[in-house]
Structures are given as C-alpha cells and as structure tokens.
Symmetry: C2
Subunit: 208 residues, 2 copies
Amino acid sequence: MALADESGIDALSMRRLADALDVVPMALYKHVANKDQLLDGMIDTVISEIDPAIAGAGWRTAIRSRILSARQVLKRHPWASRVLETRSNASPVVLDYMNSMIGIFIEGGFSIDLTHHVMHAMGSRLLGFSQELFDDSASMDPEMRDAVVRQMEGRFPHIAAVVKTVYHDAGSVVGAGCDDQFEFEFALDLLLDGLESLRAKGWSSRRG
Amino acid sequence: MALADESGIDALSMRRLADALDVVPMALYKHVANKDQLLDGMIDTVISEIDPAIAGAGWRTAIRSRILSARQVLKRHPWASRVLETRSNASPVVLDYMNSMIGIFIEGGFSIDLTHHVMHAMGSRLLGFSQELFDDSASMDPEMRDAVVRQMEGRFPHIAAVVKTVYHDAGSVVGAGCDDQFEFEFALDLLLDGLESLRAKGWSSRRG
DNA sequence: AGCCTAGAGTGTACGGCGTACACTTGTCAA
DNA sequence: TTGACAAGTGTACGCCGTACACTCTAGGCT
C-alpha cells in the first residue's frame, strides 16, 4: 500500500514490490496466491481504515460521517477506487461494511424496501459495489440463493434481510431481483428533484 | 470496440487486435501513435453514440433523457466506464458533451454558480470527469488559465463561463477553484435530503 | 516511360509483466 | 538427530507495448 500510495497503482508490480521488500519476486507467492489476492487484501485494509459507525446518533449523522470518513480514506489511497472496481467478489470485510450501512438505515426507520433502493442510489458514494452484490445473486438458481442467504443471516443479517425482500416481494414494481433501470432512475430522479428545488429557491454557494 | 464488446477490455491487446484485423501488430502503429490513443478514440466514438440533446424541452427532460441515453450506451460498451476513468485529458468530443450539458442547465434557469456545483454533484452519472476537468485548471498559473479560458470561449462557451465564475467569484464560500470537500458534501446532502423526505412519507416501490 | 513519394504493412528485438516449477535454506518440535 | 515446514531463490515461459529499420504498392510528377 505504501508503494501504491507513493508511486501509483501502475507501479505496483510483483517485481517492483519484491524489490522494495529486498526480496526476489517469487518470494511473494509464499504469502499470496497471486496478484489478485494481494489486491483483495489491500482493499480489505483500506476498508478497515474507515471509522466505525457512530452509535446512538441519528441515521443521517451516522451515514454522513461514515461516508465522509470513507472519502478521507480513499483520498489517502487514490488507487483504491480504481482497484475496487476491478474486484469481482466482495470479501467478508466489505460485506461487514455494507451490512453495517444497511443496518443504520433500517434502524433509522427506513423500510427494507426503501433501504434496498437507497443502497443502489448511494452507489459509488457508498463505496462502489452494491450493484454487483445483488447482480451476482440474480444469476443463481433460487435454491442456491436461498442457501447463500441462510448462511448470510448470522453474520450479515441486514444484507440477508434486503436480499430476501428483493426476491420475495413479488408485488413490488421491481419484481424478483433488481431492475437496473429502475434503480438508476430512482437515484437520478432523487438528484433531479433536489436540483429543481435548489434552482427554484435561487440557491447560491455564497450562503453555503 | 467490437473486440472489446465481445471479449472484454483485458482481451484488447495490440497483438490480439492486429490478429483480428489479419494484420501484424506493428501495422496498427501507422494509424495510432500508441495504445492510449487507440483508447482515446474509442471513448470519443462511445460518446458520439449518445443521443443529442432534445431541443425545446425543459431542462429536466433534456438532462434526464440525455443521461438515460448515455447509460444505454455505456451498457452496450461495458468496458467504457473503466477506460473513461483512466483517461487523463478530455478530448474535444468530451468537452462538447460537457459543454452542452452545462448549456442545458444554464438555459433552464440555473445560475452559473449552481450549475458548477451541479456538475460536480452529477459526477459519474454525467460521465465521470467534471472533477478532473476543473482540477487540472487549479494547478495552472492564473495567466495561463486565462489564456485557456479565452480559447475555450468560442467552442465551449458554457464551460468557459463556469470556469470563469469558479475563479473570479472571490466572495463565494468556495473561493478560488473548486473545494473538493464542499462539492462532495453538496452532492451527499442533496441525496440525504431526498432520502429523508422519502423515508418521512413512507415511500415504497410498490407504488413506483 | 521512368522516377519519387507517401502510406500501409512487415520482421526483429527489447524490456517489462505474472507466475509455474523445482530448488535451497533456516527453524524448531519430536 | 531427524524430519517437517515456512521462507526465500533461480530459471523459464508466454504474454505485453512498442522502437527501429525494412519492404511493398499505388499514384502523381517530369
């Protein structure tokens, strides 16, 4: 991570890293299976640098401060967001983070249904994946998905609750699974509504 | 682009591309200076696939339909967003797109100041760069920046107007140049305000 | 008809990359 | 004393982008 912070992510090759550690390239492979696993570990470390959620505050304060903390972390490690986007599987550390974010919304009075769409809406602001997290489960056959959800229920109860709602609420406009287009428009309209109200009241940054 | 669409962006090496064209790798270098230039050209083509703005509609309709069109294009070329993020300089094609988006807001009654923050807020939804666009200019010395702005004024008048406001409105909270933190919080709070009002009125996707 | 030029394609070569595979070395428990 | 195991080594392979010098061909000039 120090090497990536200093020299950029492109400079982080197994050979250069080995050099920096005064070791031969292949020595690294006694510690990680391959470069992807190295990057996975770096992402986990990045995420663990985000401040834990503030307990006892309102949902808005909790979410806001957490996201601002995440932003500071990503600024410290500018390579992280790009690496994040290339990761295919969310690690337990990432799932923990998502789970606790979902938990804040639910405890804050958001329905599970609304929380689901909110997670999509926050998108890259939240970290970058909620999208693929649910997309993966869409391509699984139902009974396998049920098994996965049951396994999640212990460690990531909030994520499990959302996934269950997404797939069992047949009455929802969204139907079974996520409707990409719906999620995108949900977030877009949320933003556009906010913009229209700022415009209408003559908002200016002069007043902050 | 066909090769990238079919086999993923990682499969797009100069050698593989040459193979697909029944030509030797070095032949490609008679047409592009290097691989980056190839990727730049691909991005320009992607952006030119976005529908032109609807004339005569309200700002909201115009922006909304344009962004949804951009989304369709990016879905056709899933590699595009990742490539986009690695580009360092915005091409004239990209500038044209930004310029016309800014123009829609301004003609729709947004102040230049508000438009500026809006562009940041739209962020990746808009395409992915507004950030760096202004960041670059922050690191230039004032007279060189003035020269660049004057040159922009003909072809990209809206962009020029925003840049001028950003740097000349000393009274603004933001001061000279963009305040990253301010922009981030602006977008975040816009979203959080929208979320709070949905939560308060018991929004559910059942009703759409 | 002869020549020139410019654009397209070619062939070879270099340094960098990730990593498979077989090996040595140092440490410590039985 | 021995054997197992973790850590580090060395060599090699097939990719990658691309520098550099070359051939070939079509068309325009004299």
